[in-house]
């Protein structure tokens, strides 16, 4: 197990290296530069700026310097936020994004899994149809549309909650609902399918025959065995949270990483783009690793000695 973990962590290094290289290359291929957005600068000023930020060096040299900086834990200086390092800029945004993502993820697990179980236990009955209809609508409504609808209903018409901003607890309610809806729906659909697969197995019948109470059979016997496929869907769920965070931050004007990234792209803020991409790649990679480890922990039959799990 520790051997497996060690190998998986080692495999992360080339992956992250390539992610850095691809982003670096694409970014510098993009037309325009970081000094185009302000008023036109005199050529000498431009040359000085380029020299100051080492942008006049050949690209391989710049990439090498960036990697060396990474080894020291230095992500560079943000161009569009003068005087701040990329770490500081990301540090300001990360709290909001992480809070939002964790809350939404928790809400998704806490509501999605029971919804799926309920639907599976009441298969082809009104409760099943209703919860699956809700799930499919939640899954197919884009988060920006849902967010805007929620603003219209709860902020404009009913005036219960603020339409945006960040800092007060009331301001986090609508963004979390918006962000959690799609992952909740995905989880509910998978939980239902997985529970239905397990339902007809002999061990479930045995458990019932032994006279175990209903909820013990459901939780200890059915859910425990249905968890494997449910765990694998946490990966796509995480992707949905990442993508969603971009949109939700835009809709509710939350100062998070997603908004930073979009503005960094428009401003050609190279170090900030690199830093954000790497951050997301690391988070997604670690999350996938945790999911794989969970799958191993839950099902001892998963083979960790062969290549990919």
């Amino acid at each position: 197990m520790s051997h497996y973990l060690f190998r998986r962590l080692l495999e992360l290094i080339p992956v992250l290296l390539f992610v850095t290289l691809i982003t670096f290359t694409l970014m510098h291929l993009a037309p325009g530069g970081p000094w185009d957005r302000q008023r036109t600068l005199p050529p000498t000023v431009r040359a000085n700026l380029n020299a100051y930020y080492a942008l006049d060096q050949p690209l391989p040299v710049q990439f090498g310097r960036y990697l060396l900086g990474l080894l020291r834990g230095d992500l560079g200086v943000s161009f569009s936020n003068p005087g701040y390092s990329v770490q500081e800029v990301l540090g300001r945004g990360i709290a909001a994004t992480v809070q939002l993502g964790m809350l939404a993820g928790t809400v998704a697990v806490v509501t999605g899994v029971p919804l799926g179980i309920l639907a599976a236990l009441r298969q082809n009955r009104p409760a099943d149809y209703l919860s699956m209809l809700v799930a499919i609508i939640g899954y197919t409504t884009p988060s920006f549309v849902l967010g805007l609808f929620l603003i219209v209903i709860f902020a404009v018409e009913l005036r219960w909650l603020p339409p945006g901003g960040w800092g007060r607890p009331a301001q986090i309610v609508l963004p979390v609902i918006t962000l959690a809806t799609a992952p909740t729906a995905i989880l509910a659909r998978y939980t239902r399918a997985s529970m239905l697969d397990v339902r007809d197995h002999d061990f479930v019948r045995t458990a019932h025959a032994k006279g175990l109470r209903e909820h013990v059979v459901i939780v200890r016997h059915m859910l425990r065995n249905a968890l494997g496929p449910i765990i694998t869907v946490l990966g796509p769920m995480m992707a949905a949270l990442v993508t969603g965070s971009f949109v939700v931050e835009q809709v509710f004007r939350i100062p998070g990483i997603g908004r930073l990234y979009v503005s960094a792209i428009f401003a050609r803020d190279y170090p900030l783009i690199m830093g954000t991409t790497l951050l997301y790649a690391v988070v997604v990679a670690i999350f996938n690793l945790v999911v794989d480890l969970l799958a191993v922990a839950l099902d001892p039959r998963v083979d960790t000695t062969q290549g990919r799990a």
């Binding site: 495999e11 080339p14 992956v15 992250l16 390539f18 992610v19 691809i22 982003t23 694409l26 970014m27 291929l29 993009a30 037309p31 499919i136 609508i137 899954y139 197919t140 409504t141 884009p142 988060s143 920006f144 549309v145 805007l148 609808f149 603003i151 219209v152 404009v156 992707a239 990442v242 993508t243 971009f246 949109v247 835009q250 809709v251 990234y261 979009v262 792209i265 783009i273 954000t276 991409t277 997301y280 790649a281 997604v284 990679a285 996938n288 990919r308």
Partner: protein, 296 residues
């Protein structure tokens, strides 16, 4: 389904018609009302999108500054107009073209990249598999949306680049699926038999293995379409997809966003269009998956 009843059988006993995989699947799909409804909705949207010039009451970028922000049901503008006096119904109709077109092109690109890579990795030697799958892992590790945003900032803001950027990052799932299928199908007797009589590997892969994995590929592709519709709308909403005055549904939501407090229909109409189209696609995909599932 080919009905091949000969006169001999007609008189005495009823011979069951030969049932094919596709015939069975169609029978099951027909019984799934949601899927049929979704299929009809998809066909309707596709038809409207392909003849937008005939269906739309006016061009999508025709501005009428004397009739801006008209409500739903205005004579001449069935769904009203936006801030620039452009007819919303017309923009919605032309938007269907962008939405479906981008999703289809992206899916085509995914097929063109994902299937060959999966086939080569699954059937080729050890090192070919290793190199291709390591590459796939790297692309897979890239957060989709981030890649597409960077890619579009390289290529420039043009609708035709949107499916390219989306296809270049999302083929990994299909490649992995195809590879896994090839590896499991390779152990079957009919493949071994073909190997024994000396059929070249590429022919085995194309003529014996590939047709066997058509159903999972079809299901993946159908369920991928709504994801691309969502991604395109999201990109346009952020301001990176289709450039104005293109009537992308996501862009229409974005433009209506500023006036949401006084004119919610500017957001509700294109938003519902995205949601309903994705819903129909998902219904069709789910129905196909259930119909083609050999475990039934």
């Amino acid at each position: 389904m080919k009905a091949q009843t000969t006169p001999i059988h007609r008189s005495t006993t009823r011979v069951p018609q030969p049932r094919t995989l596709w015939g069975n699947a169609w029978c099951r799909l027909r019984r799934n009302h949601a899927a049929i409804l979704g299929l009809m909705a998809m066909l309707l949207v596709a038809t409207i999108a392909s003849c937008a010039e005939r269906c739309a009451p006016s061009p999508y970028d025709l501005q009428d500054m004397s009739a801006t922000l008209q409500p739903i049901g205005t004579p001449g503008h069935l769904l009203g107009t936006d801030q620039l006096g452009r007819d919303l119904l017309s923009r919605l109709i032309y938007g269907a073209r962008i939405s479906l077109g981008v999703a289809t092109l992206a899916q085509l690109l995914v097929l063109l990249i994902g299937i060959p890579i999966g086939l080569i990795a699954g059937s080729g030697g050890c090192w070919r598999d290793e190199i291709l799958m390591r590459g796939t892992d790297i692309i897979y590790a890239f957060p989709d949306l981030l890649f597409v945003i960077v890619m579009l900032s390289v290529l420039g803001r043009n609708v035709f680049y949107v499916p390219v950027a989306m296809g270049l990052i999302t083929w990994t799932t299909l490649a992995r699926l195809v590879r896994a299928q090839v590896i499991s199908l390779r152990t079957y007797d009919f493949v071994l038999a073909a190997e024994v009589i000396g059929v070249p590997t590429w022919q085995i892969v194309l003529r014996h293995i590939l047709p066997h994995m058509l159903t999972p590929i079809i299901v993946t592709v159908t369920l991928g379409v709504p994801q691309f519709i969502l991604l395109e709308a999201t990109l346009s909403f952020i301001g990176i997809g289709a450039p104005p005055p293109m009537p992308s549904w996501g862009l229409m939501v974005n433009e209506g966003f500023t006036a949401i407090f006084s004119y919610p229909h500017l957001v509700v109409i294109p938003g519902s269009a995205i949601a309903l189209t994705m819903l129909s696609c998902t219904f069709v995909g789910d129905g196909l998956r259930d119909a083609l599932d050999p475990r039934q």
